[in-house]
Symmetry: C2
């Protein structure tokens, strides 16, 4: 992949999970100067925020912002409210319907903050690690959603009016399986041990091993034939 | 306008200004059960938040939420940063370019929170008081932007996937002049005295009379032949 002489800036959404960490590593590899953006939305899995900090540091970013957003003011998700995170589900079952871990309009809110930061930085590139396969049933991870968001974003901003640069939302993991993401992460030297995927960790911050995120991660590593450190 | 027997819920963005207050009054008149949503984004004109509270109370809403959003973390606007708010500009001059009072991606962020709340409430209707005429040059107030947002929003949510109800973003003020808005507000008995428009009020919360928002408001009342209380 070409490395640009004077690097363009990219805003990279970083949850601290495997997917967003891989996405950030790829943006770096593509030669972007990366600005990592993490959200504190009252998630029950607070250890995620710590993971994001360590990953951003390990991969080397220009800046890392943690923005507090009031998503949980509205309620409605097992990730923010006192609703049980489902355990031990089959992958096929996950794909059938939108799970209770869905946070209403989450990616829409996150991308909107990324858009604001990109505009202030003068960046025309946003990276988000969404994935349409093994995607756990979230509507805002689908390619048609991302395309619609990009179109809207280009009408929302100064650049859209003044016609400076066309903003692009990069979704390099969109068509990869979880195993494909694990393999890509390995070639990019993503520090697996620093990433965090579990929705419902133990008080010590260890993964539960039974939520959708843990099961998908385990399946990915197993199928990739790589050990999860 | 028809009043529904069992009212549908609508999320109404409410800044406390004349436009959003009129928009809320119109949603009420159309028979919606209104949920007002106000943002504390570190705006210098803090008196706006107080105005929103009084307007919501006077017009009668089901609920009024003030959500703190970290827009100002990114900087880049005279409404949040230590940049002078321009004074005494001609209307023609306002229309020529995007002003320094533009807050990056503001309406995109605000609508995204409205979308999240609408989804939790089971509402398919969002009201926003944007206006394409006399609009002070903001890209995210144009009809093509709103259309693109609505399309994206319908792909972002449970409703979009499960095909339950199509979400609509209502912009009843889009094609009105400021004078037209003032006249509409009067027929709806909007409490003018409770609303607040100024970007740069005095320490006592009085309007400066010289910023774009004050000048547009004054022009609207003058052309409508109505006194601004």
């Amino acid at each position: 992949m070409p490395v640009k002489a004077s690097p363009s800036k990219a805003v990279c959404l970083l949850s601290g999970g495997l997917d967003s960490s891989t996405c950030l590593a790829l943006a770096k590899r593509q030669g972007f100067a990366c600005y990592a953006l993490t959200f504190d939305y009252g998630q029950r899995h607070r250890v995620e925020l710590k993971a994001a900090h360590h990953v951003a540091e390990a991969l080397g970013v220009e800046d890392h912002l943690v923005v507090r957003v009031g998503v949980n003011a509205f309620g409605g998700s097992a990730l923010t409210d006192d609703i049980d995170v489902p355990k031990g589900r089959e992958i096929a079952e996950m794909e059938k319907s939108i799970p209770v871990t869905y946070v209403p309009a989450r990616n829409t809110i996150f991308l909107s903050y990324a858009l604001a930061w990109a505009e202030v930085l003068g960046s025309a590139d946003i990276f988000i690690g969404v994935n349409a396969l093994d995607y756990s049933g979230y509507p805002d991870c689908r390619p048609e959603y991302i395309q619609a968001y990009e179109h809207m974003a280009n009408l929302a901003t100064r650049a859209g009016v003044e016609g400076a640069t066309r903003l692009k939302i990069h979704t390099p993991l969109m068509d990869l399986t979880k195993a494909g993401i694990v393999k890509l992460a390995q070639t990019l030297a993503v520090p697996f041990g620093l990433t965090h995927s579990c929705y419902d960790p133990t008080p010590e911050g260890l993964p539960c091993g039974e939520c959708d995120a843990c099961l998908l991660r385990a399946k990915g590593f197993q199928e990739a034939g790589i050990a999860d450190r």
